[in-house]
C-alpha cells in the first residue's frame, strides 16, 4: 500500500511515518513542500493520503482528486460511509485521510488508528514543549528578580527568593509573576 503523508511540519510527518513503518506492506512518502504538491501526488500515485486538518492545501488536493484523470481510481474521504466513528476520531485528532475507493476497511482501519494516535502524541509533545519553554522562561525571570533584590537591598540569594515567595503567597500569585513584575519595574526605573 502506498501512503503519502502531506505535512508542512517535517517533525510531525516523521513521527507519523515512524508509527506507520511498523505496519506490514506499506510504502511511505513524505511531502512537506506546498509548491508542486499536486504534481508530486500525481507521481506518488498513493492509495492513502494523510494530511493535517489545518493544512491550507486541502481544497487544492480535493479538487485534484475530483477532476484528476491521473489517478486510476477516484479517491474518497475514507472507505466506508458507515465508519463514522473512525472519521470522527481522526477529525478530533486533526488528521484528514483520503483513501482510494475500493480499499477494504480492515486494511485501512489500523492505519488510521496509528495516524490518529501519532497525531495525538505529537500534540501532547507540542504542549509539553510549550510548558517546558514556559518553565525555562520563568526560571530566567526569577533569577533576574533575585539579582535585582540582592543588588538593591544587599540581601543574600536565599533571602531574595524568600522575599519573592512571600509576596507571591500574600498576593495569591505565581512566583514567576512576581518575578516578572520586579524585572519590569526595575526596567521602568531605569535599571538594565
Amino acid at each position: 500500500m502506498r501512503i503519502a503523508i502531506i505535512d508542512e511540519s517535517a517533525a510531525r510527518a516523521s513521527i507519523i511515518q515512524e508509527g506507520l513503518v511498523s505496519l506490514a506492506d506499506c510504502e511511505i512518502f513524505v511531502v512537506t513542500e506546498r509548491r508542486g504538491l499536486v504534481a508530486r501526488i500525481g507521481e506518488i500515485a498513493p492509495d492513502v493520503v494523510l494530511m493535517e486538518l489545518g493544512n491550507p492545501s486541502r481544497d487544492v488536493l480535493e479538487e485534484y482528486f475530483a477532476v484528476s484523470r491521473a489517478l486510476a481510481r477516484p479517491i474518497a474521504m475514507f472507505v466506508d460511509e458507515s465508519d463514522d466513528e473512525a472519521i470522527a476520531a481522526s477529525i478530533d485528532a486533526g488528521v484528514s485521510a483520503y483513501v482510494v475507493d475500493g480499499l477494504s476497511a480492515h486494511r485501512i482501519r489500523p492505519l488510521i488508528d496509528v495516524a490518529v494516535r501519532r497525531f495525538n502524541a505529537f500534540s501532547r509533545l507540542q504542549t509539553d514543549l510549550a510548558e517546558a519553554r514556559g518553565r525555562l522562561a520563568d526560571r530566567d525571570a526569577i533569577d533576574k528578580a533575585k539579582r535585582i533584590l540582592m543588588n538593591s537591598r544587599g540581601i543574600t540569594e536565599p533571602e531574595a527568593y524568600a522575599e519573592i515567595r512571600k509576596a507571591a503567597m500574600n498576593q495569591a500569585r505565581k512566583i514567576a509573576e512576581i518575578a516578572d513584575a520586579i524585572v519590569t519595574a526595575h526596567k521602568l526605573m531605569g535599571g538594565s
Binding site: 491550507p56 492545501s57 486541502r58 481544497d59 472519521i87
Partner: protein, 404 residues
C-alpha cells in the same frame, strides 16, 4: 445561562457578521454565547460542521448545495437560513495582462475587458500556453462568477483557459510567481496582491452579477431542527450586526476588530477599504469607490432566496457537464430556508419579502416589491450580459446560456 453555538469560519472579510454579533454583544442580547473556530480550508470548515465540531459555518454558497447533493463527500443535507452577504469578490490579473485588457484608473467594463481578454486567451491557447486562473474552491461563487463572465465573453472556461483552486492566502503568491495569470478571490486578498505589486484589480464580481449570492450560514439539517430556537436568535443577532456593519460611523472600529489575530489576522487598513466599498486597483494608483462592492444588509440582503440556490444549482449542472436532474434541483432549492429567516424576524423592524423566489437579473432599476412586513425597494440585480434567470424554466435558461 446563555446557550452556546460554535461557528466555523475562514479568515475573510465576509465572515464579519458572526464575528461582530459576538464582539458587539448582539448575540449576548439574544441569550447566545458564540464560539468562533477559525480554519484555513473550506474542506476543514465542512468536516468540522459534518462531524459536530461546529454547529454552523461560514461557507461558500455552492458548497452547501454540493454537500447536500453528495458531491465529493457522502451526501448530507445542509440548510441555509441566512445569507452572510452578496458579492465582495474581485478579479485581479497579473499587472501587464491587466494593462492590456483594462487600462488604468478604474474598474473595467466587464464586456470590454472580456472581449480584450478573449483575443489574448485564444492566442495563448493556440500557442499551447493557456491563461491560468485561480479560484478559492471548486464549489465557490468565485468559480461560478468567473466562469459566467468568461463564457459570456466567448471564452470557454474549460477549453480556452485553465481554472484551478488556489487557497486565498496564497493568491498573491501565485500571481507573483506566475503560477496563475488571474485570481478571483474575496477581500482582503485582492488588495494584498495589489499592495505587493503582484496584480491589478480589473473587475468586482458585483459587476458580473449586481446582486450575486456569496457566503452563507450553513448548518446540518438535523442540527437546525434541533437548535431551531437558538438559530433564530442567531439570525436576529446577525441582522443587528449587519445594520452596524454598514454604518460608516462603525467602519473604523469594525475593521480593527476584524483585523485581530483571532479573526482575520490582517491589515486593518485593507479591511476598512473593503467594508467601505473602496479599492486600490493597482499599486501607486488612486483609490476607487465602487458602491455595493460588498452587500451585507440593505434590501434584505441576508434573505435566502430560493431562486439563488436554484441559480447555483444551474451553474453546477452547467460546469459539470451533466444533465439537469429534477430531483437534485428540488434538493438544491430546499437548502435555502426562507421559512426559518421569516420566522426569526417576524415582528421585528426588518423587512420581509412577500415571495421566496424571484426572477434573478430581472431588475434594471429601483423597484418596490411586495412584502410580508415592512417596505422594500430592490435596486438593479442585473447580470452583466442582461440575461435573466427564471427558476421556473431552468432547462430553458441552460439551453440559452450554452447556445451562444
Amino acid at each position: 445561562m446563555a446557550e452556546s453555538l460554535t461557528i466555523g469560519f475562514l479568515p475573510l472579510v465576509d465572515a464579519c457578521l458572526p464575528i461582530l454579533a459576538r464582539e458587539h454583544g448582539f448575540a449576548e442580547e439574544q441569550g447566545l454565547s458564540l464560539r468562533l473556530v477559525k480554519d484555513v480550508s473550506w474542506a476543514t470548515v465542512l468536516d468540522r460542521l459534518l462531524y459536530g465540531h461546529s454547529d454552523a459555518a461560514h461557507m461558500v454558497a455552492p458548497l452547501a448545495i454540493a454537500t447536500t447533493l453528495g458531491r465529493g463527500r457522502p451526501a448530507q443535507p445542509l440548510s441555509v437560513p441566512f445569507v452572510l452577504g452578496l458579492n465582495g469578490n474581485a478579479i485581479t490579473l497579473r499587472s501587464d495582462l491587466a494593462q492590456q485588457v483594462c487600462g488604468d484608473g478604474q474598474l473595467g467594463d466587464p464586456a470590454k475587458v472580456g472581449a480584450a481578454l478573449k483575443v489574448i486567451a485564444e492566442a495563448q491557447a493556440a500557442a499551447g500556453q493557456r491563461l491560468r486562473f485561480g479560484v478559492v474552491h471548486r464549489y465557490s461563487s468565485h468559480n461560478y462568477m468567473l466562469r459566467y463572465w468568461l463564457a459570456g465573453c466567448g471564452i470557454r472556461p474549460d477549453h480556452d483557459v485553465e481554472i484551478s483552486t488556489v487557497p486565498p492566502p496564497f493568491c498573491a503568491d501565485a500571481l507573483e510567481s506566475g503560477e496563475v495569470d488571474g485570481i478571483c478571490v474575496g477581500e482582503p486578498w485582492n488588495s494584498v496582491a495589489v499592495e505587493r505589486g503582484a496584480g491589478q484589480i480589473v473587475l468586482a464580481t458585483a459587476q458580473v452579477w449586481r446582486r450575486g449570492v456569496e457566503k452563507v450560514l450553513a448548518l446540518r439539517e438535523p442540527v437546525l431542527a434541533d437548535k431551531r430556537d437558538a438559530v433564530e436568535r442567531l439570525i436576529r443577532a446577525m441582522c443587528a450586526a449587519g445594520k452596524h456593519f454598514v454604518d460608516p460611523a462603525n467602519w473604523e472600529a469594525n475593521a480593527t476588530i476584524l483585523a485581530r489575530p483571532e479573526y482575520l489576522d490582517g491589515d486593518a487598513v485593507l479591511i476598512r477599504r473593503a467594508i467601505s466599498d473602496r479599492l486600490l486597483l493597482r499599486r501607486g494608483g488612486d483609490i476607487v469607490a465602487y458602491p455595493d462592492f460588498m452587500f451585507q444588509y440593505r434590501e434584505a440582503a441576508n434573505f435566502p432566496w430560493v431562486s439563488q440556490a436554484e441559480w447555483l444549482y444551474s451553474q453546477m449542472v452547467r460546469w459539470e457537464g451533466m444533465t439537469l436532474d429534477p430531483g437534485d434541483a428540488v434538493k438544491a432549492a430546499r437548502v435555502f430556508r426562507p421559512d426559518v429567516y421569516r420566522s426569526a424576524l417576524v415582528g421585528t423592524g426588518e423587512p420581509l419579502p412577500g415571495a421566496s423566489s424571484k426572477v434573478e437579473g430581472s431588475l434594471s432599476q429601483r423597484t418596490s416589491v411586495g412584502t410580508q412586513q415592512g417596505n422594500m425597494t430592490l435596486e438593479s440585480n442585473r447580470f452583466f450580459d442582461g440575461k435573466v434567470f427564471d427558476p421556473a424554466d431552468m432547462s430553458g435558461y441552460l439551453a440559452h446560456l450554452t447556445s451562444n
